[in-house]
Symmetry: C2
Subunit: 267 residues, 2 copies
């Protein structure tokens, strides 16, 4: 039920014994001995926590089954052809690859359910609704396919480039769930080398979580960051953003100094 | 993070103190004192269990967001009219109420995605596919609406009658997720008064979980159950089912007796 690990060993314990000694006890979870000062829970709370964990795991299983049930088989599951068997009633075209790539078939009902932009487009007798064709500009065929697949399944296979491309799409079509999915992915990929470019990208596309995480990375590595080529470029192109970074850096310095002063006062 | 409850009190503890006494400790979860023999975990395992619980809760939140995203707005959300705005391409009619109740609009893509029976019906150029009308026999309008709503949202407001009606529908159209949902609900509603009828119903519709749970209820109350009117009816109409009940009852008696013998031997 729990991961096992090594607990602090009791110095005075009788090695290997399960005695009820006053000076050491055996942890019911990791089976190691420990001293009273390292005590965690009583037995009753241990049992209760185990039951809570089991309940949470059952809830997770139920929710996973619900997700599987609610996923729609996208027309993409059956190859690229706009098969009448999938009952699709609209196609999306990636304008970047429109000469070479096939249109991506979809269902109006799914698009309007996932995106308020598609809803407005398709419910208001606009050109796209009449023609049954939606042209998406500045996007590759692969990104479009992945985007549509996500609308049907809430799943996408991401790398950093795809996460950025999908974040842009999700911002444009207001698919909040996808945006949050891409943001979480990009935060996990943050490192001192990409933090500055990621920060600029996140700023441009209102990705607040990525922006905050990137800013934190940057101000923790200010000395190195300011020596990078991207820094010079950013100063040139987006000086206001650089000012924001310095403001955050200064604020951190002031807070650290204040915390230091209050600690020394307490001492 | 955890529910609090009353732990076993240490008899020798110094009341109210947080001392590191050798004979009593304070549970880090419920804050009560306890004796070494009632010890649960060490502190490290307590912290780890807390982190696990937090991780599971975050996973639950993520899955709930995914479920919300994947739910489709059913045409039923916008009233009963078969509005072209919902892009529906098929209607379902409850034959029981067909003269008085409106058809329920839906999307072929959703129906085929949720039910292999609808898939076969709609993908194979059968009458229903050509006409865009699916007649459902032996079902009320309310049940049909609830059934269709579930296909879009994985949600239904159940009472016992509705759970039975939907279980029949889910069996007929092979919507496993809904069947399991109804089964879970019916199991929670089992009591000595309805166990016999529920057992017969579950048997008829291959609802294994309900059937097993009902059987357990029955054999625990055999004396009372066999005095009930429904029992006489079942003997009359489904004697084989009654035989199965007695077989399960006998098996339980034999196991209990065997367990009793083995215990007395050990003693």
């Amino acid at each position: 039920m729990r991961r096992t690990h090594r607990c602090v060993q009791s110095e005075s314990s009788e090695s290997g014994s399960e005695s009820d000694s006053d000076t050491s006890m055996r942890c019911i979870s990791c089976r190691e001995e420990y001293l009273p000062r390292d005590a965690g829970t009583c037995k009753e709370c241990y049992v209760e926590a185990g039951e809570t964990e089991e309940e949470l795991k059952r809830e997770i299983e139920d929710l996973k089954a619900k997700v599987t049930f609610l996923r729609l088989s996208s027309s993409l599951d059956h190859g690229n052809s706009s098969s009448s068997r999938s009952f699709t009633d609209v196609v999306l075209i990636a304008s970047e690859d429109s000469a070479t790539s096939p249109p991506v078939p979809a269902h109006k009902a799914v698009l309007v359910s996932r995106s308020p932009v598609f809803r407005a487009m398709l419910e208001n007798e606009m050109e796209e609704s009449r023609s049954g064709t939606i042209k998406i500009s500045d996007i590759s065929y692969d990104t479009l396919r992945t985007f549509v697949y996500y609308l049907y399944t809430a799943e996408a296979c991401l790398d950093e480039q795809m996460a950025c491309d999908l974040l842009v799409m999700s911002e444009k079509y207001q698919v909040k769930h996808l945006k949050s999915y891409c943001e979480k992915f990009l935060v996990t990929k943050l490192n001192p080398d990409n933090s500055l470019m990621t920060y600029a990208f996140a700023h441009q596309h209102n990705a607040k979580h990525v922006r905050d995480a990137a800013l934190l990375q940057i101000i923790e590595n200010m000395e190195n960051v300011t020596k990078r080529e991207e820094y010079m470029e950013l100063v040139e192109k987006e000086p206001r953003l650089v000012v924001e970074i310095y403001e955050a850096y200064l604020s951190k310095q002031v807070n650290t100094a204040a915390a230091g002063t209050s600690t020394s006062k307490t001492c």
